[in-house]
């Protein structure tokens, strides 16, 4: 790996070198390096791009890294990754895609991920998206995430896309069985003419299943964001969506709630607050010596990192 590739790897996965344990590094549309362990088996798909990741039952505190590095223009990369998590296992999966595109041709990465969690298993899924290089060229990411949570399983998702990605369409689908729990934290920043859409459809099928989605987003310049969520409660369940957005310049954010409760014991909430940075927050930081611009940056950074 060259220095640029190492830097991208670090930004999307905090890795300084090839990791220990299970990993699959994909570079410019091809496998770069892969490693399976006794407990975590990574098998390439036969008929299409992608991998099956099979985690044995009772695996505790192990991590799986599956970074994607793109340093060329004109690439259209479509990958299918499926994760099967065994009963009582507890693992962290670090995904992420960094596009460094210096050319004037658009590069696209679409990661189609599915997660199948067996009973009592737990997954922490961290996904970071970055785009850099020529500001004019397209850096497009269109992830689709499908989540199947069996009884008593839990998934915690942290996704962030802090600038540089010119266009993204993120779709997340989940089905939760009895007592299953899903927590999603999404952090998003768009610049220039960027365009980011995020769409969630969560089906709370099982008794006492719950989902919490917190989205913190900042839209600058002429960028456009759309947040849409559809919570379906078919049982005694709990769902909470909080969509908090900061608008700067001539940007636009649209939040569309949909709540579909078909059981009287379903408790589903969608909260959205979108507006400019609060004037009194800026004033407070200015009394501590920051210029208005510095204060704005501190507020935005806290808002995105503090979620």
């Amino acid at each position: 790996m060259n220095n640029l590739e190492k830097k991208i790897l670090e930004k999307i996965s905090d890795l300084h070198a090839i990791p220990n344990g299970a990993f699959n590094i994909r570079k410019n549309g091809e496998l770069f390096e892969r490693n399976s362990t006794k407990e975590i088996n990574i098998i390439p798909k036969k008929n299409k791009n992608g991998i099956d990741v099979i985690v044995s039952p009772n695996v505790q505190n192990k991590s799986i890294h599956i970074p994607v590095i793109i340093t060329i223009g004109g690439l259209n990369d479509l990958v299918y990754n499926d994760f099967y998590i065994g009963e009582n296992s507890d693992v962290t999966i670090v995904a992420g895609c960094g596009i460094h595109n210096k050319t004037c041709k658009t590069s696209v990465h679409s990661g189609i991920h599915s997660f199948h969690l067996k009973e009592n298993s737990k997954v922490k899924y961290i996904e970071r998206h970055i785009g850099e290089g020529n500001r004019e060229s397209g850096k497009i990411l269109n992830p689709i995430t499908k989540i199947y949570l069996n009884k008593n399983s839990e998934m915690f998702i942290e996704t962030s896309q802090i600038g540089g990605v010119t266009s993204s369409l993120r779709k997340t689908f989940a089905v939760l069985k009895e007592n299953a729990k899903l927590i999603i934290k999404e952090n998003l920043l768009t610049n220039d003419k960027d365009y980011a859409k995020s769409f969630f459809k969560i089906n709370l099928l099982g008794n006492h299943s719950s989902v919490e989605i917190t989205s913190h987003s900042v839209a600058k310049n002429n960028s456009y964001q759309e947040f849409k969520s559809n919570l379906i409660g078919n049982n005694e369940c709990f769902g909470h969506v909080e969509c908090d957005g900061i608008l700067l310049d001539d940007a636009k954010i649209i939040s569309i709630p949909m709540i579909n409760a078909s059981n009287k014991n379903a408790s589903l909430i969608h909260e959205a607050a979108i507006g400019k940075i609060a004037g009194d927050e800026l004033i407070k930081l200015m009394t501590l010596g920051l210029t208005e611009k510095e204060a704005e940056d501190v507020i935005i950074q806290g808002f995105l990192l503090g979620n």
Binding site: H216, D280, E281, I283, L285, L288, G302, L304, L305, G306
Partner: protein
């Protein structure tokens, strides 16, 4: 030294205008504690916000250490040593106590420094250093963090707008100790608290936007007693 010369502040709405502060002339000297008191709505917060630059006067001048600062921005005033504790502390989303203390002091503090600032205001550092400054903190906790930020600035002119509000579980002795410990600076406190008035070198009484009396507690007390709509608060109120 801080001098306010002929300060006027009015609020204009469609067809009326309201004089909030009228012809304020005051001098504040180094190493002295000044307490501004007066009924609710008399213009105390407005006056101290003019000094910090949060509001601008319609006319008049503000001179700080021989420099006319009337047209300086808030942060320019902060950077020449003016600091301000808000009557209603501001909350944020995602910023931690540690972050704001670092910004306030202008550098990254180690745990011991932060511990110093927080323990002075009666908070245990390890419980608060990583807490977010949001509405999950109580009013009293926010007020104390607000004080800690002013301490971290090490300013030359420290302004506190009703610092005693909500510090219920803590003692006035501790609060007055903080004010008395601020050396080599001017201290201006907006307060109704007898205990705080007692440590003042000079008390300034405002009413309906005007200074109606200046002097020691002894000079001021008869005025307060004559004023039907204004009472000082004792220790337990």
């Amino acid at each position: 030294m801080l001098e306010l010369k002929n300060l006027n502040f009015e609020i204009k709405s469609e067809n009326t205008s309201q004089n909030i502060l009228k012809n304020i002339n005051l001098r504040f000297e180094n190493n002295k504690i000044y307490v501004i008191t007066g009924p609710n709505g008399s213009g105390k917060s407005t006056l101290v916000k003019l000094i910090m630059g949060i509001l601008s006067p319609n006319d008049g001048e503000i001179i700080f250490n021989n420099k006319n600062i009337t047209n300086l921005s808030i942060n320019e005033r902060a950077n020449i040593g003016i600091s301000f504790a808000f009557q209603q502390p501001i909350t944020f989303k995602g910023l931690k106590v540690r972050d704001l203390l670092d910004i306030a002091s202008g550098n990254k503090n180690d745990f011991n420094m932060i511990c110093n600032y927080l323990s002075t205001v009666g908070l245990c550092a390890k419980d608060y250093i990583d807490r977010q400054i949001d509405s999950k903190l109580s009013g009293g906790e926010l007020k104390r963090i607000e004080l800690a930020m002013v301490l971290a600035r090490k300013g030359k002119l420290n302004i506190f707008d009703e610092p005693e509000a909500g510090i219920d579980l803590w003692s006035f002795e501790n609060l007055t100790k903080i004010f008395s410990s601020l050396k080599n600076s001017i201290t201006i406190i907006v307060s109704h608290q007898q205990k705080i008035l007692e440590i003042a070198d000079e008390i300034i009484m405002l009413k309906k936007g005007e200074v109606i009396k200046k002097g020691s507690l002894k000079d001021i007390l008869p005025f307060i007693e004559n004023n039907k709509c204004f009472k000082l608060r004792g220790n337990n109120e």
